[in-house]
Assembly symmetry: none
Homo-oligomer: 228 residues x 4
DNA sequence: GATGAATGAGTCTTCATTCAT
DNA sequence: TATGAATGAAGACTCATTCAT
């Protein structure tokens, strides 16, 4: 961490070296998790897959648990970034567009690395996963909350923090459930549409009702009338 | 307890007896799951906790997996009943009331045996839990769908089956997430209210917007005006 | 075994009954041994196959070992009888014919119930099998010895008892080995012929040499000359 | 023994080391087999006896079966060598001498490690032992056959391959049987003599009859006359 | 630092045997 | 006597972790 500096100009200064090692260990962990599930995850296997010795693994991770924790951290950081990108584009769009983007972002984040996602959210003893997931959701909620602030006037909810949490949990919950039990839905346009309406109908039911009204008009006038 | 007494004419010579045994094994499984998590679940421990020998356990369950499966089955059956009760009352109520009841039912089912619920839905290798959970959700969806049929005219969604699935997954996802990450919410009235609005805003945004309009009126007239 | 006598004239007086039970237990044992090998033999399985309860099994056999011992006894008695029959016919035949009969008898006894034979002679922990097998071979030797006595004058061995033992062990050993490693041989006429020559060449080489001489003559005169 | 010394330039860092380990595991297996039989053979016991942990055992042998298989292989290789030595000396001897040597070799190979020999040939579930034993006997037969070729002109059998197999099986069967049921015989000179006559009488009855004739002459003239 | 052989507690599972009914 | 549920010791095998090199 602080040893020889310019004298021994190896390609990989210790710090860099160990970072790579840690990385390949985490990737190996992810691969094995995907291929053989949590029950099939053994430290020896991870070391093997990463091309290092078990000993080295234990140099960087005090135990198996911490290995998984680190992977979860890395993974949720990845998710954050993916989602952050989506959110940046959205700041100035209409609520409808923004909600649509959020929904798509949630589903996308699930789809990418779907199997790993699923294992990490469902199969890992929660003791490990919880803190990281909590952090992830807290950050997401904050982000959504601050976005909601920008549109406060257009929204029909008051407790924006609670609303943000609910939106985040709704989207996370739904994409997880869909991933597990109805993966086809993840790619269905009407699923996306429904989720958008779900969120919009929560945040701004009036706008949502207009939306469905006009949608209905296009298709079934009688229905619209009945509702008016 | 076992010596003959004419009052209790040897009712449980075999069938009843083994049912009790199975029951105590499943309860032991649940207890251990709650106390030590899935990783801490061993067949010997279960037998011990149930006060029987491992051998007896294996007389009734061919392996550890089947033990967990049976527990999941028992648990999801319990849930079904709990929820079924709620739903029966609701058939003829207004949508608003019905949605409210559904929300409360979802949260209730999570709260009862909360820790077990959490472990069963999150921590068990999905291979075991999935079929049972899928069945459970399918049944729930059907039930909700048939309820939606009754109110078709008042709803602003068309694909009632998809809508039912979304409602079920939303409520399940949200209560699970809340249970894990924000258990306080489960007992918060405003959480219940928000969830009701979420669902109502999805199924019938027009009604939801009236609801929030009047709710808003009571509290902040300015807001209502801004929205009109 | 001694209870109620004439009063209760059941079809199967206790003695007969238990004999049948013992019999079906032994047959079950044999079946299982054949189907699943010694490692697959469990007392519960035997009881099941015999259509009785384990408890009953233990009424008649103090433990698993004794069950197998009894089967071995029954089986070797069967062998004895089979072979005895063959021997009776032979008393007054020529040595050549008698030897031939003995050889065929040995091979036959192996072929009948071959799989059981093999398991009983090879796979059973010898502690069990040995005494019975010893007894069997001792009896066989005696029988052969007494037959040899009848032909003492024609034989070129002196220690008839040793010779009898050697003949018995040779035939037993050869048929067992053939059964295990070259079962095709058991049905090959030339194998029978060779074994006959083996035994005859031992007991009466002069007669054997005449036999092979004439056999050779028929086929390759040159050979015979070369040897003369 | 393990600290560096220039004299023994770290010869056994891995390969040699593991070879030793494998060796001590096999020896432990043999010991236990001899002391407690196949039923008493447990992997934990083997590891214990070998002075290593079970874990180490499983580093070298994937399961109990393979351990036994390896032992059988090692043992049959040993036998092969022992016997090979005997055979080399014999190539140019007379048939009588050669047969005598073969007989002694067979008995010797049984005597050495007699108890292990017996367990390995009789008590091990054949699934394990068979392939190795078959290989062993096939090799033996080939060796004997090629020896028979050299003496083809003096022999009175034609199918040398069958003859070789029969000789091998006879000797193996007889020494095994003798070992089990009459171990005293293994050390009796007359047993050796009888076996030699058995084999010689099979391969070359004419020579055998001369042998017994002259042997008889020395002892009992009357007998010889009776036979002429 | 890196290595990977060695460790051994702990898992699931079987099965001979008992004994209350 | 018969039954068969219950027992629990014992066995094969795994894997997180350590430590001598």
């Amino acid at each position: 961490m602080k040893k020889k500096a310019r004298i021994n100009p190896r390609k990989l200064p210790t710090q860099e070296r160990s970072k790579q090692l840690v990385d390949s260990l985490l990737s190996a962990t992810a691969n094995i998790l995907v291929r053989r599930g949590y029950e099939g995850l053994t430290t020896n296997r991870v070391a093997d897959e990463a091309g290092v010795s078990v000993g080295s693994l234990y140099q960087y991770f005090p135990n198996k648990e911490s290995l998984v924790e680190a992977l979860i951290r890395r993974w949720s950081d990845g998710l954050m970034e993916t989602i952050a990108d989506h959110y940046l584009e959205v700041r100035n769009e209409s609520i409808e567009t923004a909600v649509d983007t959020m929904v798509r972002a949630a589903l996308d984040s699930t789809r990418v690395d779907a199997k790993l996602h699923r294992i990490l959210t469902q199969q890992i003893p929660n003791v490990n996963a919880l803190p990281a997931l909590e952090l992830f959701n807290r950050r997401m909620s904050e982000r959504v909350a601050s976005w909601l602030e920008l549109h406060r006037e257009e929204l029909e909810v008051e407790d924006l923090h609670l609303a943000a949490e609910i939106v985040v949990m709704t989207l996370a919950g739904l994409s997880d459930y869909a991933l597990i039990q109805r993966p086809e839905l993840l790619d269905s346009p009407s699923f996306v549409q429904h989720l958008s309406r779900l969120v919009l109908g929560y945040l701004a039911p009036t706008r949502a009702s207009q939306l469905s009204a006009s949608a209905g008009k296009r298709r079934r006038t009688s229905k619209r009338l009945a509702q008016s």
